[in-house]
């Protein structure tokens, strides 16, 4: 009930929003004999936008389809708005159509034999809503995505971006408990993708519906989510707000998958709680961000540190005799437009570092390299 109030009241208090609205517990799913999701648990608060992020085959889409009821999990429990919709040991499996959700598919799944209006009105009609109300609600949803004029046109005549908008209008029109999106932007070109991203974010702000968004595109996940779950091989690799995942990747996989990071391997020189960890790399020492315990080492006993390409700093002038300041050389410079990538040779090997076109370093020129210790993050090896 609190969730209901939450949805309509506009400025929802954060405390109320923290109560789980969708809960997934111990979810395991398989195709034939192959297990694709292993013991996954997470929750979504009312009005929260959660992204499931990971490479193809990581189990993110299957997890979403289990929540929708389109796949039957092998084990686990799924609760939506205090109602158990699936439970393996209580033998509950509420069919898809009774879960009161909505979904946007990667292929949009716009019915080609109906008009745009009929597509959007479909969910309302199945609910038995009165005709005049169906009309006003469906048109309102179409207006929301700027497709009102095309209401009576055939769905086959639409472009990709328009189909995407109709799919969004359709999923908002039926007043669902939550919206599930399965890679909705992956079939659009880059420019349209970033525009749709903004529009979807805007709809999300307006309606405050709980949203689960599946994507393999880290930019989308970063830009739209309140919280991100990174998945890998059917398991949750890391979970948290976008910036936290970006700044503090837990493993080499997350550091690599999200943003551009340099992975440097070395041996631990000193590890004292509350003080920077000292890592020896190729004869030089890096001060890394302090942490209570050490991450998982590699098979040979060495440890990995992740340094984001944007957090390493290149400067001109003399190099001070402090930790994490080095004399380095620009090896290669690649201009990418809004950004410049340098390949930099330093005592520990090579680093990839992002800079901006307003202050360029020449290839072959000496440079002062600085990595702030809080930006050198020790991560789990594979």
């Amino acid at each position: 009930m609190a969730a209901e109030i939450n949805l309509t009241s506009g400025n929802a208090p954060i405390a109320a929003a923290a109560r789980p609205f969708i809960e997934v517990k111990g979810l395991t799913a398989a195709y034939d004999a192959k297990i694709v999701v292993r013991d996954v648990s997470f929750s979504v608060a009312a009005g929260e936008h959660l992204s499931l992020l990971g490479p193809s085959g990581c189990g993110k889409s299957t997890t979403l389809r289990c929540i929708a009821g389109l796949e039957t999990p092998v084990e686990g429990e799924i609760v939506i708005d205090s109602e158990v919709v699936f439970s393996s040991h209580r033998r509950i499996n509420v069919p898809t159509e009774k879960r009161k959700l909505s979904m946007v598919f990667q292929s949009y799944a716009i019915w080609p034999h109906m008009t745009v209006f009929d597509n959007v009105a479909y969910g309302l009609r199945t609910q038995g809503v009165r005709d005049d109300e169906v009309r006003s609600e469906a048109l309102r949803a179409l207006r929301m995505v700027g497709m009102e004029e095309l209401a009576q046109s055939s769905a086959t005549a639409l472009s990709g971006g328009q189909q995407q908008r109709v799919a969004l209008a359709r999923s908002y029109a039926c007043r669902p408990k939550a919206i599930l999106l399965d890679e909705p932007l992956s079939n659009l070109d880059a420019r349209l993708r970033s525009r749709m991203r903004e529009e979807m974010r805007e709809l999300q702000r307006q309606f405050k519906l709980s949203t689960i968004y599946v994507t393999h595109d880290q930019e989308e996940a970063m830009a739209m989510s309140d919280r991100v779950i990174v998945m890998r091989d059917g398991r949750i690799e890391q979970e948290g707000p976008p910036l936290e995942i970006y700044d503090h990747p837990r493993s080499r996989f997350v550091a690599d998958f999200i943003g551009a990071a340099n992975i440097v391997c070395g041996r631990i020189r000193q590890h004292v709680a509350g003080q920077p960890v000292l890592l020896e790399v190729e004869g030089t020492v890096i001060e890394c961000a302090a942490r209570a315990d050490l991450p998982r080492p590699q098979a040979d006993g060495s440890y990995m540190v992740a340094i984001r390409a944007v957090y390493a700093e290149l400067r001109r002038g003399a190099v001070p005799e402090f930790a994490n300041h080095w004399q380095a050389t620009i090896d290669r410079r690649t201009l990418l437009g809004d950004m410049v990538t340098y390949s930099v040779r330093w005592p520990g090997g090579k680093l990839r570092i992002h800079g901006f076109p307003n202050d360029l370093f020449e290839e072959g020129s000496p440079v002062h390299l600085h990595v702030p210790p809080v930006r050198a993050i020790l991560v789990d090896a594979d």
């Binding site: 004999a33 009821g69 389109l70 393996s88 509950i92 499996n93 959700l101 799944a109 080609p112």
Partner: protein
């Protein structure tokens, strides 16, 4: 973790509702096919080894004597192979060229020819044989008469009652299947694959031989296999064009043994078993060849292949298309129409020699043909409706359900293709005679046989339709709150509509024209068109049998026109 998960997987029955129906949807058709296909085959084999009383069922004594006496008639098998292989090669050559002209060149008139080239197949071999015997018989044949009249040479131009004549007529009436199957593959091929071959310096011919042909091979092989099996079982053409020359193939020999007194069922069954063994071998061989190749390159999205401008060759290719339409459609229908209007046996162009009495006779006066027309329409409607229903259910189970055994179901569904239809009908006849219920001599027996023999065709068509419908279209309906029934009514069936209709009409047409499968199953009171035309050919005289054939052709042409009309009324589907 994985141990715990797989351990828990076993006891948990999938709670999804409708799961039980999925199971039944797989096992029921499997049981139906096992009974309807397996039992006739079993009876066929049992009879082939029957050396006791030839009429006894089940046999009282077993032995291989029938196969030994078959050794004296190896020419029947040899003739069958000669005719089938040659006609398959000729039909494939015609089909490949026509498909290539239609879909890969800029030769004009694609839309018109696409339709015209497809028609001979539903018209069928019976109409073809009848028409070509009226065109090419050495003395009375229309073309030979014209030749003699024009040149004054008494020697006929050609004799259709010959092995080349049989091969020619069989090939032109089966070629549309090859055009359809190969044309579909050509339309789905990514032309970038060919373009990259030219970029790397290969000429047109080299590209065609090294890239296009290997990519087309799966479609070519499966079309060739389809043609070969149906030609092994071909009956009307070899009988009507070969019996005069005492040229027997396996099917005509079986028919003769069936008709002779006393009928020699065991020997006929032995021939049938040999024929089935040959087609099974062909199926196995082509499966082996296809197994090593992936179809992935060809299927998938619909590419728009680049069409070649053939420049100077365009008139030649256009002439080839016209020639095909002439010999397979215009001349046969023309001569039948002309013959059906005659007062007496000859072929006169004089209006005063014309009459509509023959149509009056077959449509109204003569009860047997009148009844045959009605029965054939009923059977067409029944086979279309039930066949499409069964094929759609099976296609659904195979492509949409996760149920165990769906691959087996698909293989079992395609299995009737390996049986020449006449042979199957022979075994099927024994089955219905041995049943405790009185099925023999009823239309239901014919209906059942039709559904089984046409199932591969219907399944092929319907699975093409089902595969094209994106699964998420249905999932979107479920998630919008529609239960299974509502989803079927509002999304699935409307999307399937065009495909259902097209396949319904296809089944309707090929049941109306069928003769091999109904020859042994229809009898007095259950006459159907194909066998009626056949027995009329024996006894009724050319004008009347032509009138009946024209009636059959008109029914088929109307069905074709209806489906084209309906398809055009709803574009985009």
């Amino acid at each position: 973790m994985s141990v715990a998960a797989s351990g828990a997987a076993a006891p948990l029955a999938p709670p999804r509702h409708g799961a039980r129906r999925v199971r039944a949807g797989v096992w029921l058709p499997l049981a139906f096919l096992a009974a309807g296909l397996g039992y006739p085959l079993f009876l066929l084999v049992a009879n082939a080894f029957n050396v006791g009383d030839p009429q006894a069922l089940p046999p009282t004594e077993y032995g291989s004597a029938n196969f030994v006496s078959l050794l004296e008639h190896l020419d029947w098998i040899g003739n069958t192979l000669l005719v089938s292989i040659s006609a398959t090669i000729l039909a494939m050559a015609i089909g490949i060229v026509l498909a290539w002209i239609l879909y890969r060149t800029t030769v004009p008139g694609q839309r018109v020819f696409e339709v015209l080239i497809a028609i001979p197949y539903p018209l069928g071999p019976l109409v073809g044989a009848l028409a070509w015997s009226a065109l090419g018989s050495p003395r009375e044949g229309l073309l030979n008469q014209l030749f003699t009249g024009l040149t004054g040479i008494a020697e006929p131009l050609f004799n259709i009652y010959s092995v080349p004549g049989i091969i020619f007529v069989m090939a032109i009436f089966e070629a549309p299947v090859a055009v359809l199957m190969i044309g579909a593959a050509m339309q789905h091929m990514d032309s970038a694959l060919e373009e990259s071959s030219t970029v790397f310096g290969a000429g047109k011919l080299r590209t065609a031989l090294r890239v296009t042909l290997p990519l087309m091979l799966p479609a070519i092989l499966s079309a060739a296999l389809f043609l070969f099996t149906s030609m092994m079982g071909a009956f009307a053409i070899p009988t009507m064009l070969g019996t005069n020359a005492r040229f027997y193939v396996a099917t005509t020999a079986i028919y003769v043994m069936f008709q002779s007194y006393p009928p020699n069922y065991p020997l006929a069954a032995a021939i049938g078993v040999v024929l089935v063994a040959i087609t099974a071998l062909a199926v196995w061989l082509s499966a082996r060849v296809l197994k090593s190749r992936t179809h992935a390159i060809i299927f998938g999205r619909n590419y728009r292949p680049r069409r070649l401008n053939m420049r100077g060759w365009t008139p030649v290719l256009l002439a080839f298309e016209c020639a095909y339409v002439l010999v397979s459609l215009v001349l046969p229908l023309g001569v039948l129409l002309l013959a059906s209007l005659q007062k007496s046996g000859g072929l006169s162009w004089m209006l005063s020699d014309w009459t509509l009495n023959n149509f009056h006779y077959v449509l109204i006066d003569f009860p047997t043909t009148r009844q045959a027309i009605g029965n054939s329409l009923l059977l067409g409607i029944g086979t279309g409706t039930l066949g499409v229903a069964v094929a759609t259910t099976i296609a659904w189970m195979v492509h949409r359900s996760q149920s165990a055994g769906r691959q087996l179901l698909e293989q079992a569904t395609m299995l009737p293709q390996a049986f020449p239809r006449l042979i199957f009908a022979f075994g099927f006849m024994w089955m219905v005679m041995s049943l405790p219920i009185r099925l023999y001599g009823t239309l239901y027996a014919v209906l059942l046989a039709y559904i089984i023999v046409f199932l591969p065709l219907a399944y092929r068509g319907m699975s093409g339709v089902v595969v094209q419908i994106d699964r998420s279209l249905e999932e979107a309906a479920r998630i919008s709150g529609a239960h299974w029934g509502r989803m079927m009514r509002t999304v699935t069936l409307p999307l399937l509509r065009a495909g259902l209709l097209a396949n319904w009409v296809l089944l309707f047409m090929i049941s109306v024209r069928e003769v091999s499968a109904s020859l042994f199953l229809s009898g007095p009171g259950t006459q159907v068109l194909g066998p009626a035309i056949f027995s009329f050919w024996d006894s009724g005289g050319l004008p009347r049998v032509s009138a009946l054939a024209v009636v059959q052709a008109v029914i088929i042409l109307i069905a074709l026109a209806v489906v084209r009309r309906l398809a055009r009324a709803r574009p985009g589907l």
